[in-house]
Amino acid sequence: MSSVTLSNIKKSYGDVSVIQGIDLAINNGEFIVLVGPSGCGKSTLLRMIAGLESISGGTLSIGGDPMNDVHARDRDIAMVFQSYALYPHMSVRDNIAFALKMRGVDPARIEREVANAAEILSLGHLLDRLPRELSGGQRQRVAMGRAIVRHPKVFLFDEPLSNLDAKLRVQMRVEIRELHQRLQATSVFVTHDQVEAMTMADRIVLLNDGVIQQFGTPLELYDYPCNRFVAAFIGSPGMNFVDGTIEHEEGIAALSYGDGRRIELNPEMARLPAAGQAVTLGFRPEHLQPCAKGQGFETLITSIETTGFENYLYCEAQGVRMCALQFERLDCRVGDSIHLRPAADKLHFFDQVTGLRLESEAPLMRTAS
């Protein structure tokens, strides 16, 4: 186990810059998730840590030792690939033992390590099979077994769950997390799935266009997104946004939007934007609740999704589309009108031009760039 430190790390292919100066300090034993949309540079960053991509600028250290010019095989890291990258001609046993054999480890110790990994990952009965004879989940476990036996300084996971079906993905998510709690190994996990990021990470690094948007615990990112991108990316369905202007009239604060419609705001809110300021108001689906006529704003239901224990109402008001999450089963249909009101203490304000958060109540929030 080791800490990983990235100082002003850059990556470019010719004139195209894909990682634009990233600073990141990963603590010993921490489980970090790199998340972001496709093409944001998360896999590239992971591969740079692994030594599979060269570093164009900056310094990478593992356990305090600079690693920029160290070959991948000498970095003492283990990686689980998206496609598992198992050796197709080797049995499960040989796949797991391969790295140790190449390092000339004593055969008796190799046998012990393989048996131990097989027990942890429930692979004992599959040791003599070839990878092609295994299911996706079993291959995934073999890939993890191959990493475990090496006792590396750092575990790297490159979207290892994306080839699994939804049910197996949830199961493996829990297993990887439990494995981390057991081994307490420093881990960096790449995913484009924000649910995976939220459920697995000690801390999340949210990337976009090669820049860290926010670095913090899952709940910091969820409750105090530092900009509109983070607010939209984290949470499913995403946060609702309404562009408008702040008004203060006779002690009542409101957001004016569309053709003069208003959303009343709590005047006691900390650092309410100044009157006349053009802002984007954000509120999450679970914070948008039905209310009596005259209290909130009127919307038209355009679609309803029911999962059994939760209901998503997709509504439209003055051309603004929004989603409300209801845990109670409402007696309404598509085409009905419904009055909704966002919880006054759960509102987020963002600058319409820069997208940055306007009021900050996140004492623990950190932005890394």
Binding site: R73, F81, Q82, A85, Y87, P88, M102
Partner: protein
Amino acid sequence: MFKKMTTQPVPDTTGQLKTLLRSLRRYAESDGCWYSISLGPLALILLLLTILPIIWLGWMALHDINWQDGVSHWEYVGLNNVVLFFDNHFYWPGLLNTFIFSISAVSVQMVLGFLMALVVSRSDRKSRLFLTVVFLLPIVLPPIVIGAIWKLMLSYDFGVINDFLGLLGIAPVDWLGNADIALMSVIAVDIWHWTPFVFLLMLAGLESLPQEVYEASSLDVRNAWQEFWYITLPLMQGTILITLLFRMVLSFKVFDEIYLLTGGGPGTATEVVSFSIYRTFFTEDRAGLGAVMSIFTLLVVAALAVFAQLLLKRRKQS
């Protein structure tokens, strides 16, 4: 005695016709019908072009065939041609030479072709293009040009190779005229000619290997040799076996290089089976004997192919 009248059922021709039409329609819509229509003509052509000539060869082998006034005269001789075949002075040394030729040439070609493919697959884009073009040159040259070039280069009197040896103070060598080294010279030319073929198949094999497996191995292995021995070689086993089979079969049929460089000589030093068959058929006009030689050669090549297939099958099963 009163006989009970029995009524014969009137054949329902309309019903039978309908059933027949229904069956025909069902057959027309079935996969079997479409397999027959689409593959039938091809199977027929294959039969005409491959099976019939072999049957024809067998028929020829039982005859002594002479040409008089532009007309062939067939005389049935039974297995006489087979007896003559076993006493033939050219075929058997030729068969031994062919085995030596195939095994030596193909072994070197496999090693060289694989190494060249490894070099190219690890090269950068520019070097890769340059090396591929250079490596492929021999295979794009027509055999007649290759024969002419090498005959000149290996010439005892004015060959560039002997000129070069002269510069080093080494006496000239009769590369194609000395019975002890003529076969080796022809093998060297064949290696030069056909290594690009192996290179091409090996390169295609290397390119199709899963990249992520190499990325995983780059974290596991300690050096390039381990990667080659434990990853590349086992993963390339299928390509290697298929290429080997191709080359063995092709080299067993070598003719042009022998014809152009040595004509099978000196003596029977470079005699190969294809050349023996050619000589028997077209120089000695003994088509019956030539047919026996052809059938025997065909059986040897087929045995090689079956052996290689069995190897491949065994590998797949294991």
